[in-house]
């Protein structure tokens, strides 16, 4: 019996040892599970492609996750990443949503919007709140799990499940509505959604709408330019088959609202996730369509730089290459003169080595150079000949405003015979589009540059400027050379004659006046 007990004891000890060893070994081998507490990051991409995506994280404590974390799976929201959080974690964990394993230039390697204060800097990091102001962990459920959600194209914000209108609430499906206001929110900055039929707490006859409180944009956009808003409507198990919604100004029945819109939610009653896209009342199949609607490419400005080049500027980047494949096609651009005659474009230049550009320079040979007689010209861009929606045009005027000449000093100068003279400095500017720029083709006009201080007279020096488009301006500097011994000498021969005649007439008038007075007195005396 004693042996048996000893055997049992040893066996039990061995089993415990083995089990403990196994646990310790597992803990050591399983780098991804050093603690029980974790944050599950749900990441929704519009292309649904999560392969190879990673996140980079820090601040999760000694045995918490750090650096690169791979995709752990997919939820109905999107790809998921598990971040393990240790007891000594910071108040906030850092998060970078990376496109792959490696690093690029701080922009092309990660998702997010640029900082408006530093648009040339890296795409800003995101932060996940782990602790509240008292230092206690916050938002973790009984199992030590916390869910956070991020859409592609969000700024540095994070969506938390514990938010009232967060996605994937317990026992509810999630209807996500991505909304674009055609006024770019400039007129109506705050919108929400009035909804009914969802069976959830947001249904009913009260004034509280579902806020469009998540803001997102497109890759490379600056955060304060983000143009899309997102709302999450919880869909209960007993929801109607169709949920009704109205987009309206926030909080009340304001001036702006859409008609009733129905959305089929039969597939997400009680669970699941579904996204719909609206540009005001117009519904789109996917985010790409909504983005094209919200931000169609259009020519914002076109300027003739000189007779053989015109700069065309777009409101957004036009894709010109994809990887090594060149997408750009010169036939995208056409130019017509004012009579509708086509003008041949010799070549088109743009910035190289980038995926998209928003400026193109059209160049013309001498035979097709731009001139004011044929203006205005119309430049047209159409990237898809089958799709009129991609067509955009802009009128190009040719500058006919003469250049501006500025003369530093008086334009009316008096000299005496024998004086020396230095011609005043002069400069000129021309208009290119609306921009004034220095013009260096400014000089003394041929045949109008003579001055002599040997001879009294009035001399005119003409300054002439010719701008890029051949517009001419003239300014005159008048120089009077006087003879100190003959104040009228500079007036020339004719002027002298007029002065003598004037003097003679004056003398005769005086004599006649005297004679008249004498005669009257004489008569008076008689």
């Amino acid at each position: 019996m004693k042996k048996f007990l000893t055997f049992l004891f040893i066996s039990a000890f061995a089993v415990v040892l083995f089990a403990t060893g196994t646990v310790l070994l597992s803990a050591e081998e399983n780098d991804e599970a050093p603690t029980d507490r974790k944050v599950v990051v749900h990441y929704h991409r519009w292309d649904g492609d999560y392969e190879g995506r990673t996140i980079w994280t820090w601040g999760n404590g000694s045995n918490g996750s750090s650096d690169s974390v791979s995709l752990s799976g997919e939820s109905s929201f999107g790809g998921t990443f598990d971040i393990y959080v240790d007891d000594d974690a910071d108040a906030e964990a850092g998060l970078i949503l990376r496109y792959g394993e490696g690093w690029g230039d701080g922009k092309n390697d990660r998702d997010g919007l640029l900082d408006p204060e530093n648009p040339d800097g890296d795409t800003p990091n995101k932060g996940i709140v782990l602790r509240d102001e008292n230092g206690d962990f916050v938002g973790f459920d009984d199992n030590g799990v916390k869910h956070v959600f991020v859409y592609e194209g969000m700024g540095s914000e994070i969506i938390y499940q514990d938010e009232m209108f967060g996605p994937m609430l317990e026992d509810h499906g999630t209807l996500t509505i991505v909304f674009y206001d055609t006024d770019d929110y400039t007129e109506t900055p705050e919108w929400d959604i009035w909804t009914w039929g969802s069976g959830a707490f947001v249904s009913g006859d009260h004034d509280m709408g579902v806020p469009l409180d998540t803001v997102l944009g497109v890759d490379g956009q600056v955060a304060d330019m983000a143009m899309f808003r997102v709302a999450h409507i919880p869909i209960a198990a007993d929801a109607d088959d169709n949920v009704g919604i109205i987009f309206r100004t926030a909080g009340a029945w304001g001036e702006v609202q859409t008609n009733d819109l129905d959305i089929d939610v039969t597939d997400i009653k009680g669970e699941g996730f579904k996204t719909v896209f609206f540009g005001l009342e117009q519904q789109f199949d996917d985010f790409a369509q909504l983005e094209a609607f919200a931000m169609p490419a259009s020519i914002e400005n076109a300027t003739a730089i000189d007779p053989q080049s015109a700069l065309v500027e777009f409101n957004k980047g036009i894709a010109v290459r994809e990887g090594e494949e060149i997408l750009f096609d010169a036939s995208w651009f056409t130019l017509e003169d004012k009579d509708g005659n086509p003008v041949a474009i010799d070549s088109i230049s743009f910035t190289q080595g980038v995926a998209s550009v928003d400026e193109f320079m059209l160049q013309f040979d001498a035979e097709n150079s731009l001139n004011s007689a044929a203006a205005p010209y119309t430049v047209t861009f159409q990237s898809d000949p089958e799709d009129e929606e991609t067509r955009t045009s802009f009128e190009i005027d040719i500058n006919t405003t003469p250049p501006t000449i500025r003369i530093m000093g008086s334009q009316s100068v008096s000299l005496l015979l024998g004086d020396s003279y230095s011609l005043a400095t002069f400069t000129a500017t021309e208009l290119i589009g609306e921009e004034s720029r220095p013009l260096y083709d400014v000089r003394v006009k041929e045949g109008f540059g003579y001055l002599s201080t040997k001879e009294a007279g009035v001399y005119e020096i003409v300054i002439e400027a010719i701008d890029t488009f051949g517009n001419v301006a003239e300014e005159t500097i008048t120089i009077t050379v006087e003879d100190p011994c003959d104040p009228e000498a500079h007036l020339g021969g004719n002027a002298r004659v007029q002065t003598v005649i004037y003097g003679a007439i004056s003398s005769v008038s005086l004599i006649l006046a005297g004679a008249f007075v004498a005669l009257r007195r004489n008569r008076g005396g008689q």
């Binding site: 490696g102 690093w103 690029g104 701080g106 190289q352 080595g353 015979l417 220095p438 002599s452 001879e455």
Partner: protein
């Protein structure tokens, strides 16, 4: 008779009046017509050509152009302020139009892309020889390439008949160097002279650790560990070559090479303890600069951009080359600003004259005086003002042991992968080999 008398009197009076006027003039006037000149302003005006330059500093541009135009009255220079990093892309867009610049300045790492876009005029003849002789060798080499002028493309220099041509004139350069607090060193070691080797810095740390911790901070030297630009010196001291010998082979990032692993091992085994076990997060650039600024740090690896800050803080400091590691002189990255003539210029003679002036001693003096940038000259003794600037002399000392940052596109994938690698090894979260392999994999994945 009475009538006749009155009329005669009046006539006489009027004649007298006129006569009186005429009599005064000859007494006061002097006719200097003989001293006069004839002017033919339309015929005598100088024929001028106009060139456009894109520079990133208005004060520099104005001073440079004023001096240039005074010496070259036939050339007018139009200045447009364009950031040097934007120059290449702007020139690609504007090439062929009258708005394109004739002379531009851009960072050296843009030269490859600029050549691929056929933007640069080659520099030849005695001017090219002069640049090669006077400017930092590695900089002129970076600005050189073998080029097929018929096809307008860069070609392999092994191609039969290929010759290296110079396409850019090095203008200014910068590199990190060793900054040292003279007063602190004097107090600590009895000498204000800086260490010439890392071994000496570490030995001094061991010897004066107590005094250092009591009176200053607890660091002898600070490194911005997560910054692959600053940390490059460490890797090169162990023979690491980024992108191969000529820095142009994207298949030879060599992040997982034996040389890099040796450097990381030295860092982990020697430098981490010598920096009192601080984590890489604590040793960020700003924290380090702040310590040096407060006079609590004997040594820091830093660049010319910090000189003004330390001068303003009245730190008694000097600048010198990076100390050796095991007898090897570390090589740092350098950044060089290149000036070049646009290949499509309509005024090549005037444009090259301007380029020559920019790189002349007079032009470089103006550069230094207006921007405080360090001219990329091999020998600065010809420039009086810089010769007395001991800080920039120290940077220049290291610049001669520097390599311009590689110009290939893949350089953009190096920074963060290498920075993370240094940080992971420093913090001990990866072994040198693991971190090196991870960095290489990250770099490969990003390409």
């Amino acid at each position: 008779m009475k009538k006749l008398l009155i009329v005669s009197l009046l006539f006489l009076f009027s004649v007298t009046l006129v006569a009186c006027n005429r009599e005064e003039e000859p007494e006061e006037c002097v006719n200097d017509a003989a001293l006069g000149q004839e002017y033919f302003f339309d015929q005598d005006q100088q024929e001028t050509v106009t060139i456009t330059v894109w520079l990133d500093n208005e004060e520099y541009a104005n001073a440079l152009i004023e001096a240039f135009e005074a010496a070259n009255p036939g050339i007018r220079v139009r200045f447009e302020e364009v950031g040097s990093v934007d120059v290449r892309q702007r020139l690609e867009l504007y090439q062929g139009s009258s708005a394109a610049a004739d002379v531009v300045v851009f960072p050296h790492d843009h030269i490859g892309a600029a050549l691929n876009s056929n933007l640069l005029h080659d520099i030849s003849g005695s001017f090219a020889d002069d640049l090669r002789e006077r400017m930092i060798l590695s900089a002129t080499e970076t600005a050189s390439a073998c080029y097929d002028f018929d096809q307008n493309s860069v070609i392999d220099c092994d191609t039969p008949g290929a010759e290296r041509s110079l396409f850019g004139a090095p203008l200014s350069g910068e590199s990190v160097a060793l900054f040292y607090n003279k007063a602190l060193l004097e107090d600590l070691t009895g000498s204000a002279e800086p260490a010439t080797s890392f071994e000496q810095i570490i030995a001094d740390f061991e010897e004066y650790k107590t005094i250092l911790e009591e009176d200053y901070g607890d660091l002898m030297i600070a490194l911005d560990v997560g910054n692959a630009y600053d940390m490059h010196f460490l890797a090169t001291a162990f023979g690491f070559q980024l992108f191969g010998e000529d820095g142009q082979n994207p298949d030879e990032a060599n992040l997982d090479s034996d040389e890099m692993i040796a450097a990381l091992t030295y860092m982990q085994d020697v430098l981490v303890p010598a920096l009192n076990g601080y984590s890489s997060g604590d040793l960020d650039g700003e924290s380090n600069r702040s310590l040096f600024e407060q006079g609590k740090l004997p040594y820091i690896i830093d660049g010319p951009w910090s000189i003004t800050r330390y001068v303003d803080a009245e730190v008694d400091f000097g600048v010198t080359g990076i100390p050796t590691i095991d007898g090897q002189q570390p090589v740092t990255f350098s950044g060089v600003q290149m000036a070049a003539v646009y290949s499509g210029t309509n005024q090549p003679a005037a444009a090259f004259r301007f380029l020559e002036f920019m790189t002349s001693d007079e032009g470089l003096d103006i550069l230094y005086a207006t921007t405080n940038r360090l001219p990329a000259l091999e020998d600065l003794s010809g420039l009086e003002a810089i010769a007395s600037d001991l800080y920039l002399q120290g940077i220049s000392e290291q610049l001669n042991y520097s390599q311009p940052m590689p110009i290939i596109r893949e350089m953009g994938f190096f920074w963060d992968n290498a920075g993370a690698m240094y940080g992971q090894v420093w913090n001990g979260t990866r072994t040198p080999k693991e971190a090196a392999e991870e960095a290489q994999a990250g770099f490969d994945g990003a390409r």
